[in-house]
């Protein structure tokens, strides 16, 4: 009993170092599984991300919190290591070594995919909202905004003053999208071909959700991360800009 107490105290006190160790072990186990069990067919990073999601589910069930495994005190450091600060900092670091000319050449494709991506996600979300029985323009706009990303949903909902249950649904859709992007994209990346910087730029612009696209690109090809991140990091900003304004007016005009 004494020994586990000591260990627990140490792990909690040094939470970030604990996170390094845990992620290291998960990575090692995942890459070994990838090599020996799937013979490299399923990428090691994909397995590690799936494993992370599973841990997040178990953590959420055990604690009832919203931050996955990091709600368990011993694993609190994982929340810091995987929080938006470190995510954004490492994403910026991936720009080191990227080709600026490639980006300039695909600038138009990036812009087109960004606008199309926000409009498309919003429209699909709005259609589902309508089928789900929501009739007011405010509710439909908020749910459509949640389909853009789980950040845009609540911002739009707050601006339009909708009920908190609708905001919760919009966040739910955004979270499902983000996880679906993490899981589905690496599986289909060979079929739809995301293997050039241009396609990565378009992928980032169409899907947007930063956590989803960053995890998906890590599993597909780490060298393409900066290109996808370049457009996806503008996606949420664009969504916050157009959802509570232009798109809300458009929905109000149709409903």
């Amino acid at each position: 009993m004494e020994l586990t107490d000591i260990l627990e105290k140490l792990l909690i006190k040094n939470s970030l170092v604990t996170a390094f160790a845990v992620v290291g072990i998960v990575t090692f186990a995942s890459y070994s599984l990838s090599k020996y069990l799937t013979k490299g067919r399923l990428n090691g990073s994909s397995i590690a991300i799936l494993f992370g999601l599973l841990m997040a589910y178990v953590g959420g069930r055990l604690t009832g919190g919203s931050k996955g495994v990091s709600d368990i005190p011993v694993f609190a450091g994982i929340g810091l290591l995987g929080g938006s600060m470190m995510r954004d900092f490492t994403i910026v670091a991936t720009a080191f070594g990227a080709d600026f000319n490639e980006l300039r050449r695909s600038g138009l494709a990036g812009f087109v995919s960004l606008v199309l991506g926000v409009l498309f996600s919003f429209t699909i979300g709005a259609i589902f909202a309508r089928f789900g029985g929501y009739t007011s323009a405010e509710d439909i706009t908020t749910i459509g905004a949640g389909a853009v990303t789980f950040v845009v949903g609540p911002i739009t909902g707050a601006a339009l003053g909708v009920d908190s249950s609708v905001i919760a649904l919009s966040i739910g859709i955004g979270v499902v999208k983000s996880i679906a992007v993490m899981v589905i994209t690496p599986l289909v990346s060979k079929v739809i071909r995301i293997d050039t910087p241009r396609e990565a730029i378009i992928f980032g612009g169409l899907l947007g959700t930063t956590s989803g696209t960053s995890a998906a690109m890590a599993a597909i090809d780490p060298a393409l991360v900066p290109y996808a991140a370049m457009t996806s990091t503008f996606y949420t900003g664009l969504g916050c800009l157009v959802c509570p304004s232009v798109l809300y007016f458009a929905v109000a005009a149709i409903v």
Binding site: G52, Y57, G60, G79, R87, G172, L206, L207
Partner: protein, 130 residues
């Protein structure tokens, strides 16, 4: 020195977030509009055009610190996936799950189309890749 590369990275990071935040205020939003994208752009521009930075990279003064955090990207993403609200996603009901998955699949299907449209526009410039 590892810290010089990390310093360059953090300066770009803050410069980018500052621009993003200022843009957000400018359009009347309490949100950061593309701050990380601007930060990446600053780092990319410095590494491509600034002679001082280029020289320091060649002398290995910056590259260690930059490369370390670049390689930490995948571990950070794994930690990020472990701190997602998966329970909420599973519990948010058929509407959310169906919508999220349909949306993802349809958007992924759009990639080849957008790629084709935009590459036919740029073909002259690119010398017809494909």
């Amino acid at each position: 020195m590892v810290i010089y590369g990390v310093l360059l990275l953090s300066l770009c990071y803050f410069a980018g977030l500052f621009v993003g935040e200022a843009m957000g205020r400018l359009v009347g939003l309490n949100a950061n509009v593309g701050g990380v994208g601007f930060a990446m752009l600053f780092l990319l521009l410095l590494c491509s055009y600034s002679e001082t930075v280029k020289k320091s990279i060649r002398n290995e003064r910056f590259s260690d610190g930059l490369r370390f955090w670049q390689n930490m990207y995948i571990p950070v993403v794994i930690a990020m996936s472990a701190s997602q609200d998966v329970v909420k996603a599973v519990r948010s009901g058929w509407l959310a799950i169906l919508c999220g998955i349909t949306l993802t699949v349809l958007s992924l299907c759009l990639i080849p189309f957008v790629s084709r449209i935009s590459s036919s526009k740029n073909k002259a410039e690119e010398g017809g890749r494909d």
